[in-house]
Each structure stands twice: as structure tokens, then as C-alpha cells.
């Protein structure tokens, strides 16, 4: 396989172009959030007070640590420390698991309180609160989907490392999977204060 053409810069550029579409996807929803926050300031405040700050903060810490872990995994593969690279990728996947478990606990509690999209209880609340929770489920839900996709992607990378498809000389796949994971973290960095800490 030594004569296979590899375009490192092209692979990186392609990944970033894809990430721009992700930024725009969430950007559109952030615009929606900004517009409705402007219109229903007080209702958003009431809505946000009902979210679990502890779980939100915990998930922030989990994601930040996972971002460190995948960055470390890339450093290790570049240094030829494959075993450590694999283990730190596993650590990142574990963090994704913890994040999704926390999210499930959080959403279950909301469902328990009669709060889910278009639930009878939510329709009785003010219009602004209804919109707040609508955006909450849409944005954190879509973000959680990205966390799951990221975890699957990283699992494939572990397999690639074990098969030596990713190694000290050729690691752009792991780097690109890492970039995807960091974007997931970046989006959460904004979701967290906007929903849980209520502006």
C-alpha cells in the first residue's frame, strides 16, 4: 500500500468544510433561540430555572474531559504510542456514554414532570415557556444525536488503530474524527449557559 496516494491537507480541508455545515446547522437554531429569547425573556427565565444545573454542569465537565482525552489520543498516535492512543480513545467513548446516560436521566425526569414536546402540561404553560422547552428538546436532542454518532465514529477509529490502518505515519482519520468530537464539545459550550444558566 506504500504507493497509495494520500492527500493529508485535502483530507483535513474536507473535514473542516463538513464541520462548517454543522456550525451552520446549529447556527440556525441559535438564531431561533436568540430571536425567541428577545421576545420571551421572562418565560425563558422561568423555563431555565426548571432545568437541572447539576447534571448540566456534570455533562459539561464530562465533555471537556473527553475533548482532552481525544486530543491526547492524537498526540500518542503521533508519538507512536499506540496502546495509549487506543486507551484514550476508549476513554473518550466512555465519556460519550456517561453523557448520554446523564441526558437520559435528565429527560426522563422532565417526562415525569409532564414536560415533553407538545405535552398537555406544556400547552397549559405560557407560550414562551412552551417555546423554550421546544428549543431545549430540539437542540439538546440533536446535540445528543451528534454525541452518539461521534462515539460510533471513534469506535471505528479504535478498530482502524488495531488493524494498523491508523498508525504513527498515517493518522489523519483519527485527527478528523477528533475534530468532529471537538465540534460536538464546542456546541455544548454554548448550549450549556444558554439553557441551564438562563440569560
Amino acid at each position: 500500500m506504500s504507493n497509495t496516494h494520500k492527500d493529508y491537507a485535502g483530507a483535513k480541508l474536507g473535514m473542516w468544510l463538513f464541520l462548517f455545515t454543522e456550525v451552520l446547522l446549529f447556527g440556525g437554531m441559535f438564531v431561533l433561540y436568540a430571536a425567541y429569547l428577545h421576545e420571551y425573556r421572562a418565560d425563558f427565565h422561568v423555563g431555565g430555572k426548571q432545568l437541572d444545573v447539576f447534571i448540566g454542569t456534570l455533562n459539561t465537565v464530562v465533555l471537556l474531559f473527553s475533548s482532552f482525552a481525544i486530543a491526547a489520543a492524537i498526540t500518542f498516535i503521533q508519538q507512536g504510542k499506540k496502546k495509549l492512543a487506543v486507551n484514550f480513545t476508549y476513554l473518550t467513548i466512555a465519556c460519550a456514554g456517561i453523557f448520554v446516560i446523564n441526558k437520559t436521566i435528565e429527560w426522563r425526569a422532565k417526562f415525569h414532570h409532564g414536560i415533553w414536546p407538545d405535552s398537555p402540561h406544556l400547552r397549559e404553560m405560557s407560550h414562551g415557556e412552551n417555546i423554550f422547552f421546544g428549543l431545549y428538546f430540539l437542540m439538546t436532542g440533536l446535540h445528543a444525536v451528534h454525541v452518539v454518532i461521534g462515539a460510533i465514529l471513534l469506535s471505528v477509529m479504535v478498530w482502524f488503530m488495531k488493524k494498523d490502518v491508523i498508525n504513527q505515519q498515517d493518522f489523519v482519520k483519527l485527527e478528523n474524527a477528533g475534530l468532529y468530537w471537538h465540534i460536538v464539545d464546542l456546541i455544548w459550550i454554548f448550549l450549556f449557559p444558554l439553557f441551564y444558566l438562563v440569560l
Binding site: K12, V31, F65, A71, D185, F192, P193, V198
Partner: protein
């Protein structure tokens, strides 16, 4: 010289990555602490400033943007600039709309 070595790759040191993680955690703590104090409109400004700072740390170090070539830095900057214009302009429109 093999093709893979035509570019000199910068390797992020574990120590740097660790420092960035600690900074990110400290900024998160600050964000939560500040949100508990009522500063009125300033709460929004402070929370978003801290979030942007965290985002910059992630992009520059974890995503290696500090060590990428000018072209990559330029298009990433442009992308986020466009997003800022998109959100900013929409918001200005809303904020200054009469009645």
C-alpha cells in the same frame, strides 16, 4: 523522504493539553458562579464572553488551529465571522423593529 513526512506535523504536548483542560474547567466554574449572581444584562455578556473564550481555547489548541497553515486559519475564521454576521444582523433587526 516518504510522502507522509512532506509536512512537518506539530504535535500537541500532553502538558499543553492538560493546561488547556484545567483552564476550560476553571472557566466553566466561573460561568456557573457568575450566573448565580444577578447582574441584569451583564449576565448575558459575561456568559457569552466566557463561552467564546472556551470555544477559542478548544479551536486553537485541541483542534490544532494555532498550528495550521494560513489558508486553513483564514477559512475557519471566515466561517465563524459569517455565523457572527448571520446571528448579529438577525438580532439587530429584531431588536430595533418598531411595535
Amino acid at each position: 523522504m516518504s510522502e507522509n513526512h512532506e509536512h512537518q506535523h506539530h504535535i500537541l504536548s500532553i502538558k499543553t493539553a492538560g493546561i488547556i483542560l484545567v483552564l476550560l474547567l476553571l472557566l466553566t466554574g466561573t460561568t456557573v458562579a457568575v450566573s448565580r449572581i444577578d447582574l441584569g444584562f451583564l449576565n448575558v455578556a459575561v456568559a457569552l464572553t466566557l463561552a467564546v473564550t472556551k470555544a477559542l481555547l478548544v479551536i486553537l489548541f485541541f483542534m490544532h488551529m494555532k498550528y495550521e497553515n494560513r489558508f486553513m486559519q483564514m477559512i475557519v475564521f471566515l466561517c465563524f465571522l459569517l455565523l457572527a454576521i448571520f446571528i448579529g444582523m438577525t438580532f439587530f433587526d429584531l431588536a430595533y423593529r418598531g411595535g
